[in-house]
Symmetry: C2
Subunit: 386 residues, 2 copies
C-alpha cells in the first residue's frame, strides 16, 4: 500500500423514511434547492423535501433544470442566486448531475472571479458553501465524495475536478426515491457504479489484498443483484443494495492505500459525451471492455485476476492472455445482457470526429495509470468500440 489519509466527513442517512433527518440538518436558513427536470415532482420527492424544509421555516430558493451532463451556464445561474440572495446552504435533490452542478455552485458562490477558473485549476479552491443532498439515482457516488464533472458547451469540454471542501455535509439515501428510475437509466447507473469499482481495481500498488478483495466483492454483488433489480424495478431490497453499493463504489473506500487506479476510460468517455452528449453509463459500457482488451495485450495480470475472481473463469490449460480475454468478454456479455449498448454505432457514432474526441481526452495531461495512454492508444480503443 501507499501512505494515505482516510477522512470522509459526509454523514450518510440511509434507508426508507430518512428524509425526516433533513429537518435536523437544515434549520431556519436560506436554502437553494437545486434539481433537474420534473421527475422529482412526479415521484413525490419534491413534496417530501419541501414539507421538511417548511417544518423548520427555511427560506427556499430554487434552481431547476440542471441537465444530465450539467452545464457551466447552469452553474453560473446558481452562483448568481447564491451571491444575490445570501444563500446559507445548497440542497441538491437528484442524481449525480444535480449534485455535481451543486458542488460547482458551492465553490463559485465563495469566489469573486469566474468559477471556470476554479474548475480548470487556474485558481485555487479556498472556500465553499455547505452542501446537502437527497439522492434519487444510484450511479455516480457524488453523494459521498469530493468529485464533480462539469460540461462547458461553449468550448465542448467536459471536466472532472474535486476538492475536500465539496464533500456533502450530509446525504439522504432512501431507496424508494429510486423506484421510478427507468429501466434504461437503471442500467446506466449499474454500469457507472461498476466502472468506478473496475477503474479502482486497475492500480499498480503492491500488497493491497484487502482493498482488492473488497472491490471483487462489490463487483460480484452487482453482478448478482443487477438482473434481479431489472426484473423488478420497485424491489426495495434490490434498489437498496444498488444504492448502497454505488455509494461505496466511489466514496474512496476502494481507493485507500492504492495509487488511485486507472480512470483512462472515464476520461475517454467524458471526451465522447462532451462531443455527442450521450449518456455517461452508455459510453462506459462500450468503452471499458475495449479498454480492457487494449491493456491486456501489454499486461494481462489484473485482467486475469478480474476474470477469475469476479467472473469465476478457470485458468486451467490457458495462457494468461486467454484468461484475461475471456474476462473482458464476460464483462461485455454481462452488460449486454442487461441491455447496455456495446458499440458506438448504437449511438450512430462513426469515426468522423475521432481526432476531436482524442483532443478532448487530453484536455488535462496524463490519461491512465495502469497503462498511460497516448493518442495512438486512445484511437485504438475508440476504433475497437466502433
Amino acid at each position: 500500500m501507499n501512505i494515505f489519509t482516510q477522512h470522509n466527513p459526509t454523514k450518510l442517512y440511509f434507508g426508507k423514511g430518512q428524509i425526516s433527518q433533513l429537518s435536523t440538518e437544515v434549520r431556519q436558513m436560506k436554502v437553494l434547492l437545486v434539481y433537474g427536470g420534473g421527475s422529482i415532482k412526479q415521484n413525490g420527492v419534491y413534496e417530501d423535501v419541501i414539507n421538511e424544509l417548511k417544518k423548520v421555516e427555511a427560506t427556499i430558493f430554487k434552481l431547476p433544470g440542471v441537465e444530465p451532463n450539467p452545464r457551466l451556464t447552469t452553474v453560473y445561474r446558481g452562483v448568481e442566486i447564491c451571491k444575490s440572495e445570501g444563500i446559507d446552504i445548497l440542497l441538491a435533490v437528484g442524481g449525480g448531475s444535480v449534485i455535481d452542478c451543486t458542488k460547482a455552485i458551492a465553490i463559485g458562490a465563495k469566489y469573486d472571479g469566474d468559477v471556470w477558473e476554479l474548475i480548470t485549476r487556474k485558481a485555487p479552491i479556498e472556500s465553499a458553501l455547505p452542501i446537502g443532498t437527497v439522492l434519487t439515482l444510484a450511479a455516480t457516488g457524488s453523494e459521498m465524495n469530493p468529485i464533480s464533472v462539469i460540461s462547458n458547451w461553449e468550448t465542448k469540454d467536459k471536466l472532472g475536478w474535486g476538492s475536500p471542501l465539496v464533500f456533502p455535509r450530509f446525504s439522504i439515501l432512501d431507496p424508494t426515491y429510486t423506484f421510478s428510475v427507468s429501466h434504461k437509466q437503471t442500467v446506466y447507473g449499474i454500469v457507472d457504479s461498476m466502472s468506478h469499482a473496475l477503474e479502482s481495481y486497475f492500480h499498480r500498488t503492491k500488497n493491497t489484498p484487502l482493498i482488492d478483495a473488497f472491490i471483487e466483492s462489490l463487483l460480484r454483488t452487482a453482478i448478482q443483484t443487477a438482473p434481479k433489480l431489472l426484473e423488478d424495478l420497485t424491489s426495495y431490497d434490490h434498489r437498496e443494495t444498488m444504492m448502497y453499493l454505488s455509494t461505496i463504489a466511489f466514496n474512496e473506500t476502494l481507493l485507500n492505500g492504492t495509487d488511485g487506479g486507472d480512470w483512462g476510460s472515464h476520461r475517454i468517455e467524458h471526451a465522447l459525451s462532451a462531443v455527442y452528449d450521450i449518456p455517461h453509463g452508455g459510453g462506459l459500457a462500450i468503452l471499458f471492455p475495449n479498454w480492457l482488451e487494449h491493456v491486456l495485450e501489454e499486461d494481462p495480470s489484473r485482467v486475469k485476476m478480474l476474470a477469475m475472481n469476479v467472473f469465476g473463469i478457470s485458468d486451467e490449460g490457458k495462457s494468461d492472455i486467454e484468461v484475461a480475454k475471456e474476462g473482458a468478454k464476460a464483462l461485455r456479455a454481462f452488460w449486454n445482457s442487461l441491455g447496455a449498448p456495446s458499440r458506438l454505432s448504437d449511438y450512430d457514432i462513426d469515426d468522423r470526429d475521432i481526432e476531436l474526441i482524442i483532443d478532448k481526452t487530453f484536455i488535462k495531461p496524463g490519461v491512465g495509470l495502469y497503462k498511460e495512454l497516448d493518442r495512438e492508444s486512445v484511437r485504438d480503443i475508440l476504433i475497437r468500440s466502433m
Copy 2:
C-alpha cells in the same frame, strides 16, 4: 438492511512516516500523553512523538502505566491531571487499552461527578476532550471507533461503553510501529480483529449481500496473511495488511445497515478476563469456536455460510449442521495453528468460578442477538471451553 446513519469523523493517517502529521494536528497546546509500559520507549515511538510535539512547542503532561485491561483507578489519575492542568487534547500512544483508557479520561475530564457514572450509563455523556492516537498494536480498532472497555477492579467489572464524542479526532497508523510486538501479542491481535468481523457477521438482518461479502473478504485476507506475518514479524507488507484490516474490522464499515451483530462471546470474554485478567485475544480464541458450536445446534445457517465462503468447505452430501460444525472446527484449527490457546485449562482455569463469570456476563442485560443467551447457554459455552 435496516435504516442507518454512517458517519465516521476520525481522520486516519496511514503508512510509514505518518508521525509527521502529528504536528499538523497538535499545535501549541497542553497535551496529556497517555501510554502503557516501557515498550514505546524501547522501540523509538516515544521519541518520535516527543520530537513532533516539541516542534510545535506543545506543553507535555504524562500519564504512563496504563494496564493491558485498563483500570478505572488509572482513568481517575488521568481525569485529575486534565482538571488540574487544564489539558486541551489527549494523545494516546499505544494499543487498544491505552486508547480505551484515554476515551474514558476524555469524558471524565468534562464531567463534575465520578466518571464511572458515565461508563455505567447512570449519567449521560455530554462532552469530551478531543483525542488523538498513535497506534502501536493492531487489534481492537479503538483508533477509529467510539467504543471503550474499562475494568473496575474494586467490583471486578469489565464494562464496554461508547459515545460518538470519543471518536478520535485523528489516528496515526504506521505499520513499522508494530514491528516489535511479540509473537504472542500479534496472535492475540489477529484473533481480536477476526472476532470483531465474525461477531459483525452473526446478525439477523435480511438483504445484506455487500456487507456480508466484505466481512468474508476481510476474514479470508486475515487467514491468508496471519501465518506469513507470524513467520516474519518485521515484514512491512504483512504488518501493514493486518494494521489496516484490524481498523476496518471494527470502525463500523462492517456494521452499516445490520442489527449490529452478535457480541455474546465478547461479553463472556469480558466477564472471564474481569475475573482472571487473561489476555482478551486468548479468551476469545477459546470462547468463540465454542459459541459457534453452541449456536449452530439451534440455527446453523450463518455458521454454514461462514464455513463455505470463508473456509471453502464443501456442502456436498452433508447436512447444514455438519457443514456448520466443520466451519467451527476449521476456525479453532486455524487459531490453534497460529499458537492461540483452545481450552480454558491452558490458563489453569477450571469450573470453580463459573457462576461468578456468568454473573459478570449479565452485568448489563441482553447478551447476544443472533442467539440471545441465558445463564444456561453461557454455562454451556463455558463448559465446552474447559
